[in-house]
């Protein structure tokens, strides 16, 4: 045994659930078959998932009306672990079947759950969280709870829906508050009773499984949804927080791991979904960097905290280093970083690059928007209006407080405390105007890109988070604590809302949205419901795509040229995720994206 004080390693290696899943030896690169109940009726909308590789990759397809599935593009000559999953049925994993057909025929029989508690446990977190929200009658408290408790991890997932002694709750809430999830004292005092009563299995399970034996319960996804193919690539380790991801010009996907200060790269065109990672230089910064005090997660190694990333015109990757208070530029060819110090502000957050290649970024804690022009080296730090004179004074004093090391509620690790306005999402209008949201102030703002003049506009909904322009110049904004998306017309200044259809209604927390550059479809993070949600503008229709892994917490969406819709599982702590490790996720809406051709020894043909 050695006691040491060096940096720990971050193994990419996986930790298989050996007790559940024994590999089936199979040589086919495609499979087909039928999923039936033990009484020989087809199971519609079951997810059939093949896992392979190291670090692993999972490919999921849905079963049809006749319970049939077909999966192609697997690497062949490898071991697979197969899981078949449908709410209401026991998960089936491959050690429960004894089939390995050369031609790829593989049928499954699922067993019906008889214990309602097990059915309730299969439901996404938002169903459970709905039980809590139902009991909060004050709109002010409900909004606070949603905004402050669901921005790092889901609420209502298996790890959080636990009944706890009152003292234990107080300590959990103390820790969450110091990390940035603060509630006001009066409301905080009600939380133990609120959560313990809502999550009492005696009342929760019957409510959640009401009508379990009727057809309307947990209906299968529609025929349109069932065409989709979902690829998930395990990325990082159990301390990872894959905050944001982006698709580069060459189709290569990048993700920043805020908790381990790494940039990850995935090449989906490689048969093994090749993954690499690069350590972002952190100099001699301490754990937590220049972050605003409070508490850090127990397993963190964050010193610079890479938060968001964008691709520049030259293909370089620009990254905000939130607690390092810097920008990083990653040269994808040289595979090296250049670090750009910032002249002011605290907590550079989300960024966008304008047509003049200038980097615009929100600065969350100190209430600024920053601009850096790499061509000239010009920096601007633009002060965003506060909500009141008192807040203005407080914000101006922040650097002094920080220097003195006093604890004030700055919003801890996430830089998102209830008491600060928090400039958050940012996007650039077709006319070059800079638009950003102020999350806790429930406002959006416009910055003139030349004069830097600011105009603020109240949003008629709470918690405007990460927003995007569509090709028509309309600004789309998710209301994180208001269960809606809103379309804002920058000419007429009118908002038009669309309520999210996630059941039970009102339980979703859309962290961000993104616009498909080809179709103008709005894609929304189903952050608390393990889903991606599509909104088609012409028909004003929503389509909900369930994602296969329990506790899939999404914060960002991007698109590849082949039509892939990409996101990442960003739940922090990662240990709450079903396998304990984050993933990059690609949704192939019609299941038609060309797959890399793979020969029998696994090399690219």
């Amino acid at each position: 045994m050695r006691a040491e004080y060096q940096n720990p390693r971050f193994p990419m290696s996986i930790f298989l659930f050996v007790s559940l899943c024994l590999p089936v030896l199979a040589s086919a690169d495609q499979f087909f078959g039928q999923v039936m109940s033990d009484s020989k009726t087809p199971i519609v909308g079951a997810m059939v998932t093949f896992r392979f590789g190291d670090p692993f990759q999972e490919k999921t397809v849905f079963t049809s009306e006749e319970g049939r599935y077909q999966i192609a593009g697997l690497p062949g000559s490898t071991d697979y672990t197969v899981r078949v999953r449908r709410i209401g049925w026991h998960d089936l994993v491959t050690d429960e079947v004894a089939v390995a057909q050369e031609n790829g025929a593989l049928d499954f029989t699922l067993l019906r759950h008889t214990d309602p508690a097990m059915v309730a446990a299969q439901l996404p977190a938002n169903h459970w969280y709905g039980l809590v929200l139902d009991r909060v009658s004050s709109e002010y408290e409900r909004e606070q709870l949603v905004r402050q408790c669901t921005y790092c991890h889901q609420q209502g997932n298996e790890a959080t829906r636990v009944q706890r002694p009152v003292e234990e709750w107080h300590k959990v809430l103390s820790l969450m508050a110091r990390m940035g999830g603060g509630l006001d004292a009066e409301f905080s005092a009600k939380i133990p009773e609120l959560f313990n009563s809502a999550y009492d299995p005696k009342t929760a399970v019957p409510k959640l499984t009401k009508g379990f034996d009727q057809p309307g319960f947990a209906p299968p996804p529609s025929e349109i949804v069932r065409r989709a193919v979902i690829d998930e690539y395990q990325l990082g380790g159990r301390a990872s927080m894959q905050h944001d991801m982006i698709v580069g010009h060459d189709g290569i996907v990048y993700s920043v791991d805020m908790a381990t200060d790494h940039l990850f790269r995935l090449d989906p065109s490689k048969p093994d979904g090749a993954r690499e990672s690069f350590a972002i230089p952190s100099g001699d910064l301490p754990l937590g960097g220049f972050g605003p005090g409070g508490a850090l997660p127990s397993n963190t190694s964050m010193r610079v905290g890479p938060h968001s990333l964008q691709v520049g015109a030259d293909g370089d990757i620009w990254i905000t280093l939130a607690v390092g208070n810097k920008l990083a530029r990653f040269d994808t060819v040289e595979e090296s970083f250049t670090i750009e110090d910032l002249p002011g502000g605290i907590y550079p957050h989300t960024l966008r690059i304008d047509s003049k290649n200038r980097v615009w970024y929100t600065i969350a804690v100190s209430n600024h928007v920053g601009m850096f022009d790499p061509a000239t080296g010009q920096h601007e730090v633009i002060r965003v209006p506060a909500r009141s004179f008192g807040e203005e004074v407080m914000l101006r004093m922040l650097p002094v407080f920080l220097w003195a090391g006093q604890y004030i509620d700055l919003g801890g690790g996430g830089g998102e405390g209830a008491s600060l306005p928090v400039p958050y999402g940012i996007d650039i209008a077709p006319d070059g105007g800079i638009w950003f949201s102020q999350l806790n102030a429930h406002r959006i703002g416009h910055i003139d890109p030349d004069s830097f003049e600011i105009t603020m506009i109240d949003t008629p909904f709470t918690a405007p988070r990460r927003m995007r322009f569509d090709s028509q110049g309309k600004l789309w904004i998710p209301g994180f604590s208001s269960n809606l998306i809103s379309k804002f017309d920058i000419e007429t200044r009118q908002f038009e809302h669309f309520e999210l259809p996630i059941e039970p209604l009102g339980t979703e927390t859309p962290y961000s949205l993104s616009i498909d550059p080809v179709t103008d479809d709005v894609w929304i993070c189903g952050t608390n419901s393990d889903s991606l949600i599509r909104f088609q503008q012409a028909s004003a229709e929503f389509t909900v795509y369930p994602l296969p892994t329990m506790v899939t917490y999404t914060r960002d969406i991007d698109f590849s040229a082949d039509g892939g819709v990409w996101t990442s599982n960003s739940n922090a702590p990662a240990w709450q995720i079903e396998t304990g490790i984050p993933r990059l996720i690609r949704l192939d809406v019609n299941g038609t994206i060309d797959l890399p051709l793979v020969d029998s020894v696994g090399s690219n043909l």
Partner: protein
Amino acid sequence: MREVAAFLLGCVLVQGCTDQDALMVEQQQKLDQQGQRLSSILGNATPTVSTTDGSLTIQMSFGSEADLDLYVTDPHMETVYFAKSSTRSGGRISKDIQCASGSDSAQSGRGDQHEPRIEEVRFDAPIPGRYRIGIDYPLKCAGGEQRAAFAVSVMHNGEQIRKSGSVTFENFDVVVMEFEI
């Protein structure tokens, strides 16, 4: 670092530094002594913990004036602590020792004010690699001050490593110690 900065600011703005200085030295001595006493408690605890069966035991002892929390992070970077009582690698926490007056202490027996107050994490078959110990100070108990002393011990393969120190109220010291097995 931050405490030093706060202290210097205090010196400049409020008063001459000499009194403060003496007070800080005195407080530190008190904490050191307490830490050593807590550490010797853990030294004495060794005979009650088997260290030769391949298991790994991590203990933290602290006084009745503070509610401290032990966090142990395994080589896969998964943590066991009071709000998450086990890890996939088999780590388990014994019980959460709280303030004596804890409102639910009567039923749970958690508010144990009698020393030694020890929180323990045990791995019956620990995976090899680097482990991390963190300590949080979320609540003051009766008589609690701004800083509280602790001692930790790591027992594995007949060996024991001990360390004592202090933590600040509402501060989570995420890396009190790291070790490798």
